[in-house]
Subunit: 349 residues, 2 copies
DNA sequence: CTGAAAGCGCTTACAG
DNA sequence: CTGAAAGCGCTTACAG
């Protein structure tokens, strides 16, 4: 295949046209050297007029920086597209190209793939949206020298459970609100349908559920609370449905805290199959504000998560890490409870 | 920030270690020159042992090929993550790095973004998953010379409505099956809730609906068919709900073909709000096999789409176009109807 | 079958 | 404040 085309202009072409040296063009564009305002203006004007675009490969070779970041996502959780969008926005604004890799399989396989990616050295940093084993993650506290040749690897959800803040995607704060509000509405019988243990968010929601139940039991006003336990452990709504099928006949009235909307839909379906009304016999909460949830009957109470913003934040952390800067603090909540019909009539603070 | 680290090995290092020239290393790795099997084996062994990885920036500068492709997605349609996964798989296997860009806004803005991306020359090809104006798309029939400096741009859904085949994501064949099967079950009153006109798939489904109704009207056995029209025109379930709200009281019994599952959920919700039973008074079909659809009551009849495979195919087309090869034919269906409760009891062929 | 040499387009000390 | 020159790590005619 022969491509007959004028080669795109180089910095050398711009230099000749502007009557300066190639070095001056570089200084004008990068803003690095010392250069007079007049010269710079002229160079930029010429560059603009000929449609000059720096050859990134050449720049990369010279600077020994690839200017590329990778984001690793899974193929299964659809909302990751929005996280990706937010991450891409920040990366592009920071001057990086962002590449997406999809990984599949269990946590060992995913971790292996991320490790290869980091070792390949094609990327200055890697952001993983899927759970991986903690040892591939870069120890940001360690000296930069210790990271010889490897990409910086940052996870969207950090595994340090003590660092959880309200600005974090894995913040399970809404669980306590769900339980407390339902307690106040008179509910005493609870069940949690959990997500996969590998997911920080799923673990956090489960732990928050258990803690909320413990607190309720310790409170004289709600000491008669009873938890029918924690079931599930996947993101599959079928497991949620089956869990409801497996409940004793006298389970209702029951309040179910599901780890996401899909599981909550499985709960509603299971309840309907048993002839239990919702929100009469069973109330249920979800998570993620899936678009369809608002159109179920009953519509699903859920947690609206700003996935795009979460993606931006995760990417800001990665960019900071790659540049050796301290991690930005960002504590404004990305999550907001949306009360709908599936929790029945309530008095919400 | 000072990075104290041994530089990663270069082809020169490998050459020295293997006792050959740098050219020989290159020939061994790319398999391009004439080189003895013994020498090649030795070079590859040395390269492997020192963990040599070619510097892609250097290679790119020399070959004048970036080795990068871009995929443009929107932030709103979640299933695009699966298309992305399939596209990425094929691109990676073909030796390309694939970058994701998210674009927002109306069709003009999206088209402008794709145009910039193509003009920037950082990518050998661009695959767009979102609808754009046809004139940014590369005319693959035209001589390569006409594409001077620009990336090849290919759309996941082609705008040439005549080229639609069963292997295409926009193939609307299932619509005819829906209408015909419901006619056979005795339904005579139909409604279509359409998606946005910009989307090839939405247009194809609407056209297929109208054609199926026309065919039914022309058939003496079903000449009493009546279409209550085409409503909607967005992907928002709220519009579907409102469309049902706006229907006359005597609309049922009614068969609704919705352009996707979310719209179908809106229809179900609207029907429930009017006290219409489903699938008694209203039957409805969706599209996309959204996970939650199987857990609605009634569960949603839909079209299961292999988005990952659709992504693979679209990327194969792009890779072929970038390499100047003819487009691969791929006609095996990626879509399959899943009959569920929302269409009521049926005799399905 | 193998090597010496040029050059892809940048950036950056360094000299002036 | 500006320019001449080197060099990043590859690939590829070309010579042997």
């Amino acid at each position: 295949m022969i491509r007959i085309m004028p080669n795109p202009p180089t910095s050398r072409d711009v230099a000749r046209l502007a009557g300066v040296s190639q070095a001056t063009v570089s200084y004008a564009l990068t803003g690095r050297g010392t250069i007079s305002a007049a010269t710079r203006a002229r160079v930029l004007q010429v560059a603009e007029s000929v449609g000059y675009r720096p050859n990134l490969a050449a720049r990369s070779m010279r600077t020994r920086r690839t200017g590329r970041l990778a984001v690793v996502s899974g193929p299964t959780l659809d909302h990751q597209l929005r996280v990706l969008a937010g991450a891409g926005e920040v990366a592009t604004a920071a001057g990086y190209a962002v590449e997406t890799r999809t990984v599949d399989g269990d946590v060992e396989e995913r971790t292996a793939r991320v490790r290869e990616l980091a070792a390949a050295g094609q990327h200055e940093g890697v952001l993983t949206l899927v759970p991986v084993l903690a040892d591939v993650l870069t120890d940001l506290g360690a000296a930069v020298a210790d990271r010889a040749g490897e990409s910086v690897v940052v996870a969207e959800a950090t595994f340090d459970e003590h660092m959880r803040s309200a600005g974090d995607l894995a913040d399970a704060g809404p669980v306590a609100v769900f339980v407390e509000t339902l307690l106040a509405a008179g509910h005493r019988r609870f069940l949690h349908v959990a997500g996969p243990d590998q997911y920080v968010s799923a673990r956090a929601r489960r732990d928050a559920y258990l803690a909320a139940i413990d607190r309720a039991a310790a409170d004289p006003a709600t000491a008669d609370v009873v938890s029918l336990g924690v079931v599930g452990g996947t993101w599959s709504p079928e497991d949620a449905r089956l869990a409801v099928q497996a409940l004793p006949d006298d389970a209702p009235p029951l309040a179910v805290v599901a780890a996401n909307d899909l599981l909550a839909a499985g709960v509603l379906r299971g309840a309907a199959e048993r002839g239990w009304s919702a929100p009469g016999d069973v109330v249920v909460t979800g998570w993620d504000a899936a678009a369809m949830g608002a159109y179920l009957t009953p519509s699903l109470t859920t947690v609206d998560v700003d996935f795009t913003e979460a993606g931006r934040r995760a990417m800001r952390r990665l960019v900071a890490a790659v540049r050796g800067e301290p991690a930005p603090r960002q504590d404004a909540a990305v999550q907001r409870i949306v009360w709908r019909e599936s929790t029945g009539p309530l008095t919400v603070a």
